[in-house]
């Protein structure tokens, strides 16, 4: 039996169109293997089959052919989801429930007992920064707050695998940064994270491996470093470099048979600028 956290073998998913008007091939012969403890990014444009793949892994849709497994258990078995937490894209929860009631509901569904549930709820509300809003109905929550409660419900039973569909969609840069930090923290605890995202810069920062889908076909897969590095180029960042020093560096490079492709002012990312300018920002309560 495979020791992979998630394995997808020869997965093909075909959706028939109504009235026999044809069919849509959402995913074609997809093979993936996600090792435990990895942060794995499923990337691709809209309609590339990311969500269908995630739904198949979670047993929400059935494969037309092939199979998916979670920690060795077929996704068709309900038990395969015992150790999975899922955050859907743009999550909606029962608006009439408060944050606390929502977590209690999902905790009960996940099999947590009455004794440990209140403590776990307190803890998660603290982690996602919603302790003060715990008694408020979700109808009054902002999109970012809904995303946070979505993350909390996904983690309620301390799963070994987290499946996050666009975890930072609709979240401001500060919230987005916090979610990234949380994912990295979960990774450090050995939790496997499978996420789909449009935000490539973010995926680049947090993913160990990525798969890129286009029209349902896997077009690239591998370790992020291997995929994005240019084998024959090296970046050197120098602090307090004078013009003379750069000129000398150029000479050294030329003498050793290399070629200095470019030297430019080092810049920070727009995200770093935003976070600095807004002082880290806060989620409206």
């Amino acid at each position: 039996m495979s020791s992979a956290a998630v394995s997808v073998r020869s997965l093909t998913k075909i959706y028939p169109l109504p009235f026999r008007r044809g069919q849509v091939r959402a995913v074609r012969d997809l093979n993936l293997e996600i090792d435990p403890g990895q942060v794995y990014g499923l990337l691709g444009p809209n309609g590339s089959g990311k969500s269908t793949t995630l739904k198949t892994i979670l047993g929400l849709v059935w494969p037309s052919s092939g199979e998916t497994r979670i920690f060795g258990k077929s996704s068709r078995e309900v038990a395969s989801r015992a150790e999975v937490g899922f955050l859907p894209e743009n999550p909606y929860f029962y608006k009439y429930l408060t944050a606390e009631e929502t977590l209690r509901f999902f905790g009960r569904l996940s099999g947590l007992d009455r004794k440990s549930l209140p403590r776990r709820i307190d803890e998660l509300l603290g982690i996602v920064g919603l302790t003060a809003a715990r008694k408020r109905r979700l109808a009054t929550y902002s999109k970012g707050m809904l995303q946070r409660i979505g993350l909390a419900q996904a983690m309620i039973h301390n799963p070994r695998l987290l499946v996050l569909d666009e975890p930072t969609a609709g979240v401001d840069p500060v919230g987005s940064r916090e979610i990234c930090n949380l994912i990295l923290s979960l990774k450090s605890q050995g939790i496997t994270v499978l996420l789909s995202s449009h935000l490539l810069a973010q995926a680049q920062e947090i993913c160990d491996r990525v798969a890129i889908l286009a029209e349902g076909i896997l077009v690239r897969e591998g370790r992020l470093e291997d995929l994005i590095s240019r084998a024959n180029q090296t970046d050197v960042v120098v602090e307090n470099a004078s013009t003379e020093m750069l000129s000398a560096l150029d000479d050294v490079v030329n003498r050793h048979g290399g070629r200095l492709v470019a030297h430019r002012k080092s810049t920070r990312t727009l995200e770093e600028l935003f976070l600095e300018a807004t002082g880290g920002g806060t989620e409206p309560k």
Binding site: M1, S3, K55, L58, L60, V61, F71, G72, V78, A79, R81, A82, F86, P88, P91, Y92, F93, Y94, Y96, L97, F105, F106, R108, L109, S110, G111, L112, D113, K115, S116, L117, R119, R120, E123, L125, G126, I127, G129, L130, T131, A132, G150, L151, Q153, H157, N158, R160, V163, E178, I179, L182, L184, S185, Q189, G190, I191, G280, T282, E283, K285
Partner: protein, 328 residues
């Protein structure tokens, strides 16, 4: 006030708490603080969680209070309707009250159930639920259970009001009768009072109320089945309106058909299919008997109750079959 997501440095204390479960069970080494919750194939606790959540959801809908209010208004108002004799008064009171209970519980059963699954799919809340280790049949049973609980509460509220109104009127009529017949001999007075008591509050009202509840439960089960393949709740409600009328008229149509066309096997087969697909809702009507003050035989009650439970079991089984194969 917590303002942001904080990164947990270490695992939670709650994570250390076990849930009476064996840990691990997988090939992966146990994570710090991680523990596997033992998955049960069937869990009444999960069904209860979904059921109570459904009840909360429904009781926070305005339509529920409108229906309950109008039902109660009709029952409470029936006391003011025209009356010629105490027998007529009690008959009208029972007729209107039991009729209101039947209509409003049926309406509530259809409206409340029709929205549950399509709404969950549209809002995508179903993804979060079924991505947990929740079998689809448990989700359905929980959803239906919540509706049945709501119907039970509604029926209880309407029944209490109805019995209270009936009891109050009975006591008033008893007092009036006693005052009017003070000069009559005691045995005649007792006979008159006994006659009043017999036509007012009696035990045969309870089987009639129980069957009204069962009919509402049956309609909720059928609505659940329709909603497993419907894409909107409007579609479900429209289908159920047709089912409701066909269900009530089919007994009359069957008698007429058999009378006119005889009972050849094709006719019988057709009628049997109709009876299987559409429940004979007229069979769940004990209101007329209760209104007239007739005794409802226990055998008849059990037969109707069994029929109701059978229909419900069939509709729930069909719902599970359809919903289990549904792609979300």
């Amino acid at each position: 006030m917590n303002k942001s997501i904080s990164v947990p440095e270490k695992v939670s204390s709650a994570e250390q708490a076990t849930t009476g479960a064996a840990s691990g069970g997988s090939s992966q080494a146990a994570l710090p603080g991680s523990r596997a919750i033992h998955h049960r194939r069937f869990s009444p606790r999960r069904i209860l969680a979904i059921g109570t959540n459904t009840l909360t959801e429904l009781t926070r809908l305005k339509v529920f209070y409108f229906l309950l209010f109008f039902g109660m208004l009709l029952i409470g108002g029936s006391v003011f309707l025209a009356r010629f004799s105490f027998q007529q008064e009690f008959q009208i009171l029972k007729d209107i009250s039991l009729g209101a209970m039947s209509i409003f519980s049926s309406l509530l059963a259809v409206i409340a159930t029709a929205r549950l699954i399509p709404q969950d799919i549209e809002d995508r809340t179903i993804y979060s639920i079924l991505a947990k280790p929740v079998p689809r049949f448990e989700y359905l049973l929980g959803r239906l259970g919540g509706v049945l609980l709501l119907l039970a509460l509604t029926m209880a509220a309407m029944s209490v009001l109805f019995l209270l109104v009936l009891y109050t009127r009975e006591q008033a009529v008893l007092r009036e009768t006693a005052a009017q017949m003070t000069n009559l001999p005691a045995d005649q007075l007792n006979q008159a009072l006994q006659s009043v008591r017999a036509s007012a509050l009696n035990a045969d009202l309870f089987p009639a109320i129980a069957i009204i509840y069962l009919k509402a439960c049956l309609l909720a089960s059928l609505t659940l089945f329709v909603s497993t393949f419907a894409s909107t709740n409007i579609f479900t409600v429209i289908v159920m309106v047709f089912v409701y009328f066909i269900g009530h008229l089919q007994a009359t149509a069957r008698e007429y058909w058999l009378h006119q066309h005889g009972a050849d096997w094709i006719t019988q087969l057709f009628l049997a299919v109709v009876a299987l697909v559409f429940p004979d809702l007229q069979a769940f009507n004990l209101v007329d008997e209760a209104v007239l003050g007739n005794v409802i035989p226990i055998g008849l009650f059990l037969r109707i109750a069994s029929l109701g439970v059978f229909y419900m079991a069939v509709y729930i089984a069909l719902s599970v079959v359809v919903f289990s194969g549904k792609e979300l």
